[in-house]
C-alpha cells in the first residue's frame, strides 16, 4: 500500500467511524514505515477535523462524532507509542475534566478528542472531578492548558473555584484556562478569570494550541 493511500484511508476510517479499519491501517502504517506522526496528523486528526467541520455545518451530529472519535483513538493507540518527539517538539499538555458535581462528560470527551487531534497530550481526570485535582495535576504534569467544563448550572461556581485555586497556588499564569459547557458564556468566563470560552470543541482546541504556544517553555522552572 502506498503511503498516501494509507493516510487517506486513515482519514476515511475516522470520517466513517470505522474503528477496526483505523486500527488495521494504523498497523499497516507502522509495517510499511510510514512516519507515525504524519499518520496521526495527516490521517486520523485530519479526519476528525473534517467531522468537526461537518458538525458545525449540521451535516454530521453527535453519533457521527462519537464514532469518528472512537476510530481516531483506535488508530492513535497503535501509532502514538511510536512517535518520537525531540526538544521543543514535546507535546503540549492538557489537563481536562468535568467539574465537581457534574457527572456529564460527553461534551468534555469531545473537547478532549479535538485537543488530542491537534496534538495535545490529554490528561483526562474524568467527570465529577474535585477542584484540588485540577490544580494538583496541572502542577505535577506541568500543564499548558487546563480545560474545565460543566453542563449543569448548579456547578458553575465550582468552575470559578478551579481558577481561584490555581491563583492561590501561584500557578495561574503558568497555564491557559479554558472553560466550557452549555450554561457557560464568555462573560462568565471573564468574570471568573478564565482565559477563554468557546462553544465549539474544535475551535477550543485550536485556540488552546495557539495559546499554549505563547507560554514560556521554562515557566515551570
Amino acid at each position: 500500500m502506498e503511503e498516501n493511500e494509507i493516510i487517506n484511508g486513515l482519514t476515511e476510517a475516522v470520517i466513517n467511524g470505522k474503528k477496526d479499519v483505523a486500527s488495521e491501517l494504523a498497523q499497516k502504517a507502522l509495517d510499511e514505515g510510514v512516519d507515525p506522526y504524519k499518520a496521526v496528523i495527516e490521517g486520523l486528526a485530519n479526519g476528525m477535523e473534517i467531522m468537526s467541520d461537518k458538525y458545525d455545518k449540521k451535516q454530521a451530529f453527535i453519533p457521527h462524532l462519537l464514532l469518528a472519535s472512537n476510530a481516531m483513538y483506535a488508530g492513535m493507540d497503535i501509532l502514538t507509542p511510536h512517535i518520537k518527539l525531540e526538544g521543543a517538539d514535546t507535546k503540549k499538555v492538557l489537563v481536562i475534566g468535568s467539574v465537581e458535581g457534574d457527572v456529564h462528560d460527553i461534551g468534555k470527551n469531545l473537547v478532549k478528542t479535538m485537543m488530542s487531534a491537534v496534538g495535545f497530550e490529554a490528561i483526562d481526570l474524568g467527570k465529577d472531578v474535585p477542584i484540588e485535582d485540577f490544580i494538583k495535576t496541572a502542577a505535577e504534569k506541568k500543564a499548558d492548558v487546563v480545560s474545565v467544563s460543566t453542563l449543569m448550572t448548579s456547578t458553575m461556581d465550582n468552575v470559578g473555584k478551579v481558577v481561584t485555586g490555581l491563583q492561590s497556588q501561584g500557578i495561574r499564569d503558568k497555564v491557559k484556562v479554558i472553560v466550557g459547557g452549555a450554561p457557560i458564556t464568555p462573560d462568565f468566563a471573564q468574570e471568573i478569570g478564565a482565559d477563554m470560552n468557546k462553544p465549539d470543541a474544535m475551535e477550543a482546541a485550536k485556540w488552546a494550541l495557539e495559546a499554549a504556544g505563547t507560554l514560556s517553555p521554562d515557566r515551570w522552572g
Binding site: 451530529f61 453519533p63 462519537l66 464514532l67 457527572v103 462568565f188
Partner: protein, 339 residues
C-alpha cells in the same frame, strides 16, 4: 375579576385557546433554597419524601406566586427506578445519574414488568395526590418526567448516541421500553391528580442527533405519549435544551400542545417556525433569573413579551440559588400581560 381559575387558564393557554391574561408558571423545575428556607422542606429530602416534595412544590405557589404546583424537581427518578446508580443531591444540587444498566437487548427484557408504586416514581405520584387534594380544584397540578430518549441515554450511557446509528434493533427496543414506561407513569400521575404533563427530554435534541435520527427515534415516541395524554384530557409540554429553532417543526409534529424553548432560542425566529405549538420561555435561568435583580428580570421579561412569547417562563430548570424576588418579578410580568 379574573375570568378563569388558574387551572382553566393554563389548560386553555397551553392549547392555544383564548384567555383573559397570561398564566404565571414555570414548566421546568421550581425548587430553590430560599423557598426551602421559607417552607422548611429541603433538598435532598424533598426528592425522597412525598409530603416534603409536596410542601416544596406548594412553596412555588405560596411563596413565589406561581399559578400552578409542579413536581418533581429533578429528572433522575426514572433511571433510578430501573436500577441506575444515582449520585445523591444536596440542598443546592439535584441528584444525577452515574451508572447505567442497559448494554444489550437481554438487559432491556429484564427491565420489563415493573411496578410503578416502587421508588421515587411512587413518591412523585403520592406528592401529586397530596397537591391535587389540596389545590386540584383551582390550580393546575403539573406532573413532569424525563422524556423517553433521554431516559434511554440514562439507561445505556453515552454509547446510546452511537447505538441509534450502529444498532437500530437495540435502539428501537430501548425506545419501546422507555416510551411504554413514560406512558404508564404519566397515566399514573394523571390518575393521582395531575392535569398537565411536562416532558423534559434534554438530550433528544435534533441539534445533537440530527433531524433524521430525531424523526426516527423521538417523534413517534413523543406522539404516543402525547396521544395517551390527550385521551385523558391532559395538556402536554415538551422541553428540550439548546437552540431548538431549526427543529421546532419536527418537535411539534408529535402533536405536543406546547414547547418550552431554551434561552438560546430567538423568540421572534421561533414564533415564525412553530405552526401550532404554543411557545413557552425563555428567560435565561443563569444570567437573568439567578444573577440579575428584579428590575433586570422585568426588563428581560419585557423583551421576551414584546417578541410575542405566549407564556413567559424560565428557559430551563430554575437554579437553586435564584432569589425569590427575581422569580416574583417574572410572575408579576406574566400576570400583567394581556394578549
Amino acid at each position: 375579576m379574573d375570568e378563569y381559575t388558574p387551572k382553566e387558564r393554563l389548560a386553555r393557554a397551553l392549547r392555544g385557546e383564548k384567555v383573559d391574561r397570561m398564566p404565571a408558571i414555570s414548566v421546568t423545575q421550581t425548587g430553590t433554597v430560599e423557598q426551602m428556607e421559607a417552607c422548611g422542606s429541603f433538598w435532598p429530602e424533598a426528592n425522597e419524601d412525598a409530603n416534603k416534595m409536596a410542601t416544596l412544590a406548594e412553596a412555588g405557589h405560596t411563596v413565589i406566586g406561581f399559578e400552578a404546583v409542579r413536581v418533581p424537581f429533578d429528572i433522575t427518578a426514572e433511571a433510578e427506578f430501573f436500577g441506575c446508580d444515582i449520585k445523591e443531591g444536596t440542598k443546592q444540587q439535584q441528584p444525577s445519574v452515574v451508572g447505567h444498566v442497559v448494554k444489550s437487548i437481554e438487559d432491556i427484557d429484564k427491565l420489563k414488568g415493573y411496578d410503578l408504586s416502587k421508588g421515587r416514581i411512587g413518591v412523585v405520584c403520592d406528592a401529586i395526590k397530596i397537591l391535587a387534594d389540596k389545590y386540584g380544584n383551582d390550580l393546575p397540578i403539573m406532573g413532569s418526567m424525563i422524556g423517553p430518549f433521554s431516559l434511554a441515554q440514562h439507561l445505556n450511557g453515552d454509547d446510546w448516541f452511537m447505538a441509534i446509528m450502529t444498532d437500530e434493533d437495540f435502539g428501537f427496543a430501548l425506545m419501546e421500553l422507555t416510551t411504554e414506561f413514560n406512558i404508564d407513569y404519566a397515566k399514573k400521575m394523571v390518575e393521582n391528580g395531575a392535569d398537565t404533563m411536562v416532558i423534559i427530554d434534554p438530550t433528544a435534541s435534533a441539534m445533537l442527533i440530527g433531524d433524521e435520527f430525531y424523526q426516527k427515534f423521538v417523534v413517534p415516541s413523543h406522539k404516543k405519549i402525547v396521544d395517551a395524554m390527550r385521551d385523558m384530557n391532559v395538556a402536554t409540554v415538551l422541553h428540550i435544551c439548546g437552540d431548538t429553532t431549526p427543529s421546532l417543526t419536527l418537535m411539534e409534529s408529535s402533536g405536543v400542545d406546547s414547547i418550552s424553548i431554551d434561552q438560546s432560542v430567538d423568540v421572534t425566529n421561533a414564533l415564525s417556525k412553530a405552526d401550532h405549538a404554543v411557545l413557552i420561555g425563555n428567560l435565561d435561568p443563569v444570567s437573568v433569573l439567578w444573577k440579575m435583580d428584579p428590575d433586570g428580570v422585568k426588563e428581560a421579561s419585557k423583551k421576551v413579551l414584546d417578541d410575542g412569547i405566549r407564556i413567559i417562563a424560565p428557559g430551563c430548570g430554575i437554579v437553586s440559588n435564584t432569589p425569590n424576588a427575581n422569580l416574583q418579578a417574572m410572575v408579576e410580568m406574566a400576570k400583567d400581560h394581556k394578549y
